[in-house]
């Protein structure tokens, strides 16, 4: 999608500011100031603040989609290796980043808007589940090869990976330390290893 400069600048500003201060605490004026455009430009491209949030969720999916598509975890032949490498990749995404830079726009926005703003909630849900689905594909393949008789489902485990990552972000925000998010991802890695290790023993 071709985008006009002001629109792109506004969306990038939204990713940064909303992840830092949340959706409600982010004002249209601040967004415009940060993007270096005026309010006229804002309401030319977005019919409301809510509309911007929905567009930002879509933009987030675009940006992170490319990031994950280009990530090295795809290079492994064994899907279980891919899964472990994906988890490790999620951990490396915390390195050298501040908390607002490392955390997820969708998880942040949905907390504030799930009850009051169905459109934003749905956009966040779509983004999270579409990413989880790509992980579920990997898990499905890993399960078929290494744990065909396991009782858990690939979809459920994929969503769990996202839950752990999102939950890790919350703890990290609370302590102001991304190490807590890293620790939880490490537990997740161990869980996946134990799950498949256990299945092989049967």
């Amino acid at each position: 999608m071709q985008m006009t400069p002001a629109k792109t600048k506004l969306l990038n500003a939204a990713l940064r500011i909303v992840r830092t201060n949340g959706y409600e605490a982010t004002s249209v004026d601040e967004l415009c100031r940060d993007a270096g455009v005026t309010k006229g430009a804002f309401f030319h491209h977005f019919k409301s603040k809510e509309d911007l949030a929905v567009a930002a969720a879509g933009y987030w999916n675009e940006v992170t989609g490319k990031l994950f598509a280009a990530a090295p975890y795809h290079d492994y032949e064994d899907p279980l290796d891919q899964l472990i490498a994906y988890i490790d990749f999620r951990a490396t995404l915390l390195d050298g980043r501040s908390i607002p830079e490392a955390t997820c726009l969708l998880g942040t926005m949905v907390q504030e808007t799930y009850e009051s703003n169905p459109a934003i909630r749905a956009a966040c849900f779509g983004g999270i589940t579409s990413h989880a689905e790509t992980i579920a594909d990997i898990i499905r393949a890993a399960k078929a090869r290494h744990a065909p008789k396991a009782t858990w489902s690939a979809e459920s485990l994929a969503l769990h990976t996202q839950a752990v990552i999102q939950g890790g972000f919350i703890l990290a925000k609370a302590k102001d330390d991304l190490a807590l998010a890293r620790d939880s991802i490490l537990h997740l890695r161990r869980y996946v290893e134990l799950l498949f290790h256990h299945a092989k023993e049967d």
Copy 2:
């Protein structure tokens, strides 16, 4: 702590409304309307909206502290049984509740305030870690008895339980379905079982 009726009503209103709409989207006027008190009463008891949020976090700890202290998971002799029962108890806390009723005030508030409001962030951190510490005590005992040589720490696993629960809430909010939170808690249960099952084999 003895509390005046208006103050208690405001704190109870805060627990409900903030969990529903978030901190920023909750106005002082709405809080007063819901509590059935006036603005004068609000600012008599709290010197600012931020002050109310900090007090609400403390109040949340009181209320949930009693809930967990009276919960049945303490009745087991074996600390590992206690831990599993705690996890199951967390799952039952979702039953028959709406999402705002089931979710955690601290996790919701800290997402919005971690960068812009250190006092609220610290209050949320204190509440989460003090609860996690009670779980860490159980895990420490379970580890001493069943997995003395395990490499993971009780504190880290305790925080991970909280991360999974918080992350489950985010997914539940995104899908508007608490089943997702339940699923993640089930994965957490399996993780703990595998962790100790694995340790016993060594």
